[in-house]
């Protein structure tokens, strides 16, 4: 027997002065292997053409469809309806600017984040297009890639109590990004350079270890370990000059 699902969806259009934020209920027959991507598209096609939400790849690669599903941030295309009860509540991601209904502007936030942590390889080497590309150890390349799998969906920021409370907190995505450049031998930034970016209460020391980021990340990035090691690395970077030689540590990520 197919279930009839009840969707309770946040509706609000900030562009329309007459619009008031409210929850609207929709009913839909569940089909086999139905994802929220399928459900929302059917709702828009069959029941309400004005429903706003973002989708692009429908394969958990673009990160556009992040929303709060029954209280937890997640990717709609990556969420099967069979894993949820009969009633599914959908809300837009907090923190980010609301475009309308379930659609938020993560792009502006992520651009700000990328500028703040200077999310690019800092190098003084002049690019020589004729030279052979520099080689990198495969294991290291894979470790960098593991952190680079982030799709910038914003779930970790929306799940973080600290980020919700303090809008200047960098969030797991930014700290993960910094860790990715710390690992990368092509980036010539020193430990002090990284410390200047994240060694503050808005950075890694502001993280309260709630681990919401780890538990909602749709790409299962190792955020708990990245944040833990980054905290340790930055803490020793600040304290090493005070410590006796045998206690000094250079933490490798």
């Amino acid at each position: 027997m197919a279930r009839t699902l009840t969707f309770s969806i946040f509706r609000y259009n900030p562009q329309d002065p007459a619009s008031v934020p409210h929850m609207q209920e929709f009913r839909l027959e569940e089909t086999e292997s139905m994802t929220l991507f399928i459900a929302l598209n059917r709702l828009r096609e069959e029941q309400d053409h004005s429903l706003q939400f973002d989708f692009c790849c429908r394969a958990a690669i673009c990160g556009a469809c992040a929303m709060v599903i029954n209280g937890r941030p997640g990717l709609a295309c990556h969420s099967k309806t069979k894993d949820y009860p009969d009633k599914i509540t959908l809300m837009p991601l907090p923190v980010f600017k609301l475009i309308g209904d379930l659609s938020v502007d993560t792009g502006t936030w992520f651009r700000g984040m990328a500028k703040r942590v200077e999310s690019w390889c800092h190098t003084k080497k002049i690019f020589d297009p004729t030279a052979q590309e520099e080689r990198m150890d495969n294991a290291l390349a894979e470790r960098i890639y593991e952190l680079d799998r982030c799709v910038e969906c914003g779930c970790c920021v929306a799940a973080c109590g600290t980020a919700l409370m303090r809008d200047d907190f960098l969030g797991a995505v930014a700290l993960n990004r910094v860790a990715r450049f710390v690992l990368d031998p092509r980036d010539e930034r020193s430990e002090q350079d990284y410390f200047d970016i994240i060694g503050t209460d808005e950075g890694v020391f502001g993280c309260m270890g709630l681990l919401g980021c780890q538990d909602v990340c749709p790409k299962s990035l190792p955020l708990q370990e990245v944040l833990g090691k980054l905290r340790l690395k930055m803490a020793f970077a600040a304290a090493n000059h005070l410590l006796p030689r045998f206690l000094r540590r250079e933490i490798k990520l």
């Binding site: 709060v68 209280g71 937890r72 502006t108 936030w109 700000g112 984040m113 500028k115 703040r116 799940a159 109590g161 919700l164 409370m165 303090r166 809008d167 200047d168 960098l170 969030g171 930014a174 002090q192 410390f195 200047d196 060694g199 503050t200 209460d201 808005e202 950075g203 020391f205 502001g206 993280c207 309260m208 270890g209 709630l210 681990l211 919401g212 780890q214 538990d215 909602v216 190792p222 708990q224 370990e225 944040l227 833990g228 090691k229 980054l230 905290r231 340790l232 930055m234 803490a235 970077a237 600040a238 304290a239």
Partner: protein, 219 residues
Amino acid sequence: MSIPSYATHNPRANCRSSAYLDWLQMLSGACLVIFMIMHLFFVGSVIISPSLMNGLSDVFEWTGMAQIGGPVIFFLLLLHFVLAARKIPFASKQQGIMLADARRMHHLDTWLWVIQAVSGMVILVMGSIHLWTVLTDLPITAEKNAMRLRDSAGWVSFYVVFIPIVWLHTGIGFYRIMVKWGVVGIDGRSSLRQKDALVVAAAMIIGFATLLRFIFLSK
């Protein structure tokens, strides 16, 4: 929008204070965890025999650990509170955001933090009362504790509340240090949480057994 909320003339914000304060918060917490375990064995020794506890107490007295160590622990408690309180929102709007987040997400670790924040406030008051009462009436003896508890239902109810709150805070604090400082990886997290819960339960049982032993001492 995530842009720096203030401007500075110093191009390098070379300030290590956040790091130092975070170190101190963790280290003061870790010291208090170690102290609590030692404290458990010390007062718990009364279950075996009141004279064993009195003997240990004499050692603390002769070595000056009670006279100096006691106030040091008091200071650590206050220091730890102030350092940890930097992270606890004071504005009700922010508190509301945090609570709403924990409720909406049904997320255990966010709830653990809420428990830490609330129990920390309770421990600041109750711990101060406990430390003041004990340290202004040195030396610590099993008989004195027994007297205090026998004569007053107030003191008994005080410890009935205080013991579980302290162990909850100690256990969660230990777990949070382990995950926050990267000591335990992703795979070890849930098993650490289970083991930690077992140790906390055992500590609470020993704590209550100690309380009962004091109440019924030499009756």
